[in-house]
Symmetry: C2
Subunit: 241 residues, 2 copies
């Protein structure tokens, strides 16, 4: 069995301009790994309809799941929902179920739903709503594309709600061996091990700490036994206990 | 005059698995904005030759500059240089100038250059070296593609060296107005302003702080006067001094 694959699309000029440091990618990446879904690609794109539509259509065909963050608020620059409808060739309008959920966020309920607020109830035809326990305005799933907010706390509550509903793959088992040698002295023996175990992902991540070079060797596979065998090989090669 | 455009390609399984939080994107995004280069897209991809080659070839044709981070060390999973050569259809081998620079990092100079270390002197034909004052192993520029290390301190020294050599666009002038109202009450007046100034980028970035909603309105343009006019409109619309 191979694990489901996924792409993430981060929508937001504020990330590309360097104004904001994205937090959702790191959060999602860790959660997907724990759930056995392989995040294969992330694209950060601007608030531009064509870019959004192209990115959604390319990735939804290539991967089992697509997760987007950003652009579903009430302001003029929140265009993600309309772009998703366009990408799927479906209509979009204010939807009654989304409107009722949204209304619970305001003192006078539906009477408080100004046109701007109603924008947050615009849902492409055929989409399933994603719960937002923080600020109510829902995300939505359109086939395999899951559309979520950019505000990290809201993104997080949406993904926590969504993830248990998605296919679970084999969890990636990972083991890290720290080697206090410069990477250039680790490379050859490690290359031989990697060659002998083509089905195990073996990464070397160099660091520089207290004026000394070292590397973390990360061994990853869905098969625990294989990880343990490779870990033993690495330890023995570098004389680690 | 329009500003040069750029894409960034972050190469690294460790980012996609959630093991490491990328730091280079945020760093590069801010530096490019200050230099007047518009970062238009970022892709985070895995250590997979096909993915790297496709991403490089797609972006180098679409944008003025492409910046890559990661995969130029000495270990078996460092395949970026070979992929760049492949993408450009040129040969790659250990290059004498890179070898001499690398040798200065070791006690016995060239005699210390093991096959693994020599991998870091493999440079595609026709590339120009990028200085690395931290650990010597150079990056390189192949036409409009600039290939740099993934370790943040090294990435940073390479981009600092490289940036003054690239075309400088008009600096993006930016002004932020904080409005202490929920975004849904900001949306309509702001939409009208955005409509009246189609050449100015006006973004609304909501926050939730001390149990109150608000938004930062970010006004951006290369023309300072326009930014000031829009800022004045926003302040007057929301009764801010």
């Amino acid at each position: 069995m191979t694990n489901p694959t996924a792409a993430m699309i981060v929508i937001g000029d504020e990330i590309l301009s360097g104004r904001t440091r994205d937090a959702n990618m790191f959060n999602l990446a860790g959660k997907l790994t724990n759930h056995g879904i392989n995040l294969s690609e992330v694209r950060v794109i601007s608030d531009n309809p064509t870019e959004i539509i192209v990115a959604v259509n390319e990735t939804r065909k290539k991967y089992d799941y697509v997760f987007t963050s950003g652009g579903i608020g009430p302001t003029h620059d929140d265009i993600t929902a309309d772009c998703i409808a366009n990408a799927f060739g479906v209509e979009i309008d204010v939807r009654e179920d989304a409107k009722l959920i949204l209304a619970t966020n305001y003192e006078n309920g539906i009477d408080d739903l100004t046109p701007a607020r109603l924008r947050m109830a615009r849902i492409p035809n055929g989409a399933i709503l994603i719960d937002n326990i923080i600020s109510k305005a829902p995300g939505f799933s359109m086939e395999n594309v899951h559309v979520m907010a950019g505000v990290p706390s809201v993104f997080n509550c949406m993904i926590e709600w969504l993830l248990p509903k998605l296919k679970r793959g084999a969890e990636m088992i990972s083991s890290t061996v720290r080697v206090d040698l410069p990477e250039s002295r680790i490379a050859e023996p490690l290359g031989i091990i990697a060659n002998n175990f083509p089905d195990v992902s073996i990464g070397s991540y160099p660091f520089y700490e207290e004026k000394k070079y070292g590397a973390n060797i990360v061994i990853r596979s869905t098969e625990k036994d294989l990880v343990l065998v490779v870990e033993k090989e690495v330890r023995s090669k570098f004389n680690l206990s």
